[in-house]
Each structure stands twice: as C-alpha cells, then as structure tokens.
Assembly symmetry: C2
Homo-oligomer: 348 residues x 2
C-alpha cells in the first residue's frame, strides 16, 4: 500500500538571491539552496523512492512571483512522488501540519553590516517562524535550520517555540561533515563512501572543529585509522582543518555564489539519516542541544557526532578527547556562548 505523504516545509524556497529583487533590497533569500533542494525532495532523495511528499514553500512577499515560478517548474517536472505544492508568503499557511521544516531562509550578512544588525534581523525572522511552527506544524515536527548563523537561529527558534521538544530542533553541519569526508577521500585517493566517522564539533562557522581522530577508512583488510593512513599529523592539524573551515569562502570565490548543490544535498542527508537511521557503526554530525556531553555547556546547540534510530538522534558518548581537540572544542563553544548572548540582547 502506498504510504501517506509527508509534508515538508522549505523556507526561502524561491532561492534566486541573484535576481533583481535581491540585488536591490536585502531580504530573506540566502541563495540557490532552496531551489536546489526542492527537486531533490520531490525526487525522493531525502526520504526514499517510495515516500510521497507534499512541499510547502515559504518566501517573502517580493519573492512571491519567483516562488510561483518554482511551483510551476515543480508541476512541469511531473514528479510522481510529489502529491502537492503549497507556495505562500503566509507563515501560518506554510507551517500547517508540516512534519519536517527546513529553514533555509534567513538574513545574510552583507558588506558593511554589523554582526549585531544581522543577528537582530534573524532573531525577528526566527521568532515569527517559531511561533507559526509551534502553533501549526504537526506535533512531532522535526526542524532543521540551514540559514546562518545556523546554531543560534535554531536556538532562537526553540526559545520562541517552547512546546517543540529540544530533540526536534537541529542545525546543519552535515555539509561540513561531508566536506571533511571529501577532503580525506581526496588526500588518500580512496572512494568517499569508504571514509567514515569524521566529526564536526561546534558552530557552523569558521571556528568549527573538524576532527578525524576517530575516523576510519574501510579497506579490503578491515577498517583502518585515517590518522595512520594519512600519516601526517601536521597536515591534519592545520591545512585539513582550515580547508574544511573555510571551504564555504573558497566556493564563493570560485563560483561567485555560495554553496548550493552541496548544501542542499547535505540537508537531504541530514534529514534522511535522522528519519531513516544511520548505518550501523557509522555516526554523522548534527547541530543539536548539548546535554553537557564532552563538557559542552547545556543550552547550546552544538555540532556533535550522533547516531540515529527510529527518528531520534543520540550523541555518541565516551570518545577520547586529547588536549588539542579540547581547546578547539572549547573555542567554538565559546563563540556559541557569545552568539547566544548577542541574540538575547537583540530579543530585548
């Protein structure tokens, strides 16, 4: 029997930050991620080839015509799994009964803007959307925040949607996680599907800590440690880390546009693993509420290694943390504490 459709909200779905609309005004859209994401969802990339979906797309008023264009294209693609499309500028209509919410819309930092100004814009966006989600989404709605500052936007969302359980709120660090896998795969010249258990700790920002101390490569003769295979601690502690941390900027430099296909793909991976589970023996990175594990203050949304089963994530416990890692993990936690207090100062 056919499964019931799952309703998925994507905010910022019109996604053409390069259009005239956004060249002349500062708005919600943060690039092409939404536009790259919706066909992946409609094709079953996120939830599997037998799971029908209904897409809810929310954008701001000036993007409404473009959003309708995206809806037209979704109809034109005749996706068999796509059972409906809601395209709206009304947060209440957008959030109605959604099972999954992917928050791509946000206010990007532009040249000359103060960090506090950007935070303030995002606080007001996430405050409004939180309250629509809390009141109108399906009871067990899972939320993924993609828009920067992702960890802190997720925190704000949760604070203004107190009845949504903490375990249902997350932010995207899977893109960083996948970038780390990709860098190791390139360095060792092995298939990326054989590399596993890298970790992104902390903030989805340039203070994040990509950690391969527990990562392995599946080889013909069993799993081998990435550290041993790379055999270049210096590279792992410097170039590897900065490459992953600054990959977003490198993409912008090359494309003159921020990462879209890789971010959309990572969002699919994040939700798929969360809903359908991680493979046995494999963990992934997700920004989730700290429970105090690894000495990270609770009350922060911090990227941890997690495994998922039956729609719930659990932080991987008991990994050995050396001094080098400790420092990096604390530095990115400190940035999150600062961001949190900046966000709170914007609320008041």
């Amino acid at each position: 029997m056919a499964k019931d459709p799952i309703r998925i909200l994507v905010t910022g779905a019109a996604g053409n930050s390069f259009s005239l609309i956004t060249l002349i005004s500062y708005f919600l859209l943060i690039g092409q991620i939404g536009y790259a994401l919706v066909p992946m969802i409609a094709r079953g990339v996120m939830l599997g080839p037998d799971q029908p979906v209904i897409l809810h797309m929310l954008d701001i008023e000036p993007a409404m015509e473009a959003l309708n264009g995206v809806k037209m294209e979704l109809i034109d693609a005749a996706f068999p799994l796509l059972k409906g499309v809601v395209a709206t500028t009304d947060a209440v209509e957008a959030c109605k009964d959604v099972d999954i919410a992917i928050m791509v819309g946000g206010f990007p930092r532009k040249e000359g803007m103060e960090r506090k100004d950007v935070m303030s814009k995002n606080v007001s966006i996430y405050k409004a959307q939180a309250s629509a989600l809390e009141k109108h989404a399906a009871p067990n709605c899972k939320v993924l925040v993609v828009a920067n500052p992702a960890n802190t936007n997720a925190l704000i969302l949760k604070e203004f949607a107190p009845s949504i359980p903490e375990k249902n709120i997350s932010c995207l660090t899977r893109l960083d996680h996948n970038r780390a896998l990709g860098q190791i795969s390139e360095r060792l010249n092995v298939d990326v599907s054989y590399v596993k258990n890298v970790i992104i700790w902390g903030n989805h920002s340039s203070t994040q800590y990509p950690d391969v101390n527990h990562a392995t490569v599946i080889t013909g003769s069993g799993e081998k440690s990435v550290k041993e295979l790379v055999a270049d601690d210096q590279w792992l502690k410097t170039e590897f880390i900065t490459t992953v941390q600054q990959r977003g900027a490198a993409i912008i430099k090359a494309r003159k546009l921020s990462s879209a296909l890789s971010a959309a793909s990572a969002a699919c991976d994040h939700i798929r693993d969360w809903v359908l589970g991680t493979p046995k023996g494999t963990w992934v990175s997700m920004g989730v509420y700290s429970d105090g594990s690894y000495g990270i203050p609770s009350g922060l949304i911090y990227s941890f290694p997690v495994t998922c089963e039956k729609g719930e994530w659990s932080i991987v416990k008991g990994l050995k943390i050396d001094e080098f890692s400790r420092e990096k993990m604390d530095a990115t936690a400190n940035e999150l504490i600062e961001e949190k207090s900046l966000a709170h100062s914007c609320v008041n």
Copy 2:
C-alpha cells in the same frame, strides 16, 4: 558485484549564466541547468541508485573557475555513487570514453541578435564538439542535446560526427512532454503519475504540437481518455496547447531566469527511459531522426512518441492523426526544414 561506472558528459556545467562572466560577454552557458543536473546524476536520479558514475564537465575558458567551484561542491557532497569528476575546457579530454553526452552548453539568443547570428555560433560550437565526440567518446555513446535550437543543434552534431549512428542522437522534448502531463494533471485534479501518453510533436520551440488525442488517465475503473475526461475540446485545442508551447517564457517571466530544475529533471527522465526502458504501455516524447513516419520528412530531428527497450528507442507507429493534428505537425516540421537550411547556410 558493483557495476562499472558510466561516464557522463555534461557541457555548460558551470551553469552560472547570471555571473559577471556572462553578464559582460556572450558565451556557452545557458543558465542553471547544468548546475541543477550534475547533483541529480551524482545522486543516481538518472541511472538508478546502484549505478556508479563519473562526471565529465566541459565549459568555456572564462567559466573555468566557476566550473572548478562546481567540482569542489561535488566533492563536498560526498556522493557515494560518484567515482570521479573531470572538469575541463578541453573538448577532447571532456569527451574521452563518455557513454552518455548531455549537451547543455550552447549560445543563447540575446536581445538584438539575428536568428542567423545565433545559429551560426551554435553551428560552430556543435561542429567542434561533434568531432571531439566522434573521435573520443565510447563507441555506443548516446547523445542528448538540450541547448536551443535543440533539434537543429542535434542535426548539426550528427552531420559533423558521421560515424555516430543516427539512433544515438536525440534532443530534449521531455520537458515539454512533462509540462503537458502537468497541465492535464492540474486541469483534471488527478495525480500526475496517473496521466500518460501525451505527445510532443516536432520542434522544441513554440511551434511544437502538444497532443492529447491518445493520452489516458489511469483510474480505479481502468484507463480513460483524457479528451473525454477534460470534455472541453476548445480548451484542449487552444489554451492547453499555447500554455505548453509558451511555458518556457512564462517561467522566465516569473523567475527572471529560464527553467533549470524542470529541464534538468526532464533530462534525467529522458536518459533514464532511453537506457533503462519505458514502462509497458507507456510512451514518452523524444526528438529523434525521422524515418518518414507520419509523413515527417526523413533527415529531420523531430519529436515523436517513442518506446524504449534495451537502450534503443522506436517510434510508436499507427496512431490516427486527424486534420487538426496534421496541420500542426506539418507546421512544426516546416519550421525544422527552415532551421536546417539556415544552419546549412551557416556551415558554408
């Protein structure tokens, strides 16, 4: 056992026609189609979830940095099926051993340009790429031309690659086909996956003829004729046809950008059905060499209803053509004859 990877060429893969590069100069790129297409291919949308692929991406020199950015993002997405990426401006390197070639790159018509000038640019592009494909692609390489004028670009490609069999050359009208399915689905308020056997006849241009005389809808009590269900011949003969014919322009009006996600999705559908076969009792539309069927002059690349099996398409024969259809089919054939002679005049 794991399958051997299939090599797929995508031309115009950097896909950012909106970047400064192309705002200030006229080049190969025709928009975001290539950028939307490559992640779909790498995710298994085109050839299935168990078929590894190697992506070959070709673009022009000024797009090389952006193309490298796309390659970086493909690495960053850690696609398990993606076994390699070739990003190059060298047609020979790009075409080397490819099993499938998707020609998205072309020279778009800009305001103030004469049709002949555009044709002339495309003739020179397709002439060069034809010869690289003929010499360096895998022996049974299948070619799909997406770039406009798609039918005639495909014709030129074949003329300059005489050893590639006619049956291996096609152009994209699946987007128009899917648009027709979508319009019927919307009109009848039925799931698009239950609508089948619309036909796009002729040129991938505004003279194309979207025909529902043989289309059906799968219902609880068997297949029913679309004509009978719609029960509005006037709509089918006017608004339906013009909506499909002019859908591309409507998307540009709404998005301020041409169709990308729906075009990329249609390209995946086209290749998937060609390689893996059409479902029993279902045909699709493909631009292919006319064998004289339905009185369409042979030597034209014309969109027909086709079924596919074992990697080969066959034109569906024996459909009854009424007078209304006959006229429309001839009109679009005449346009193709004209385009062909215009193209030939550019060659000389």
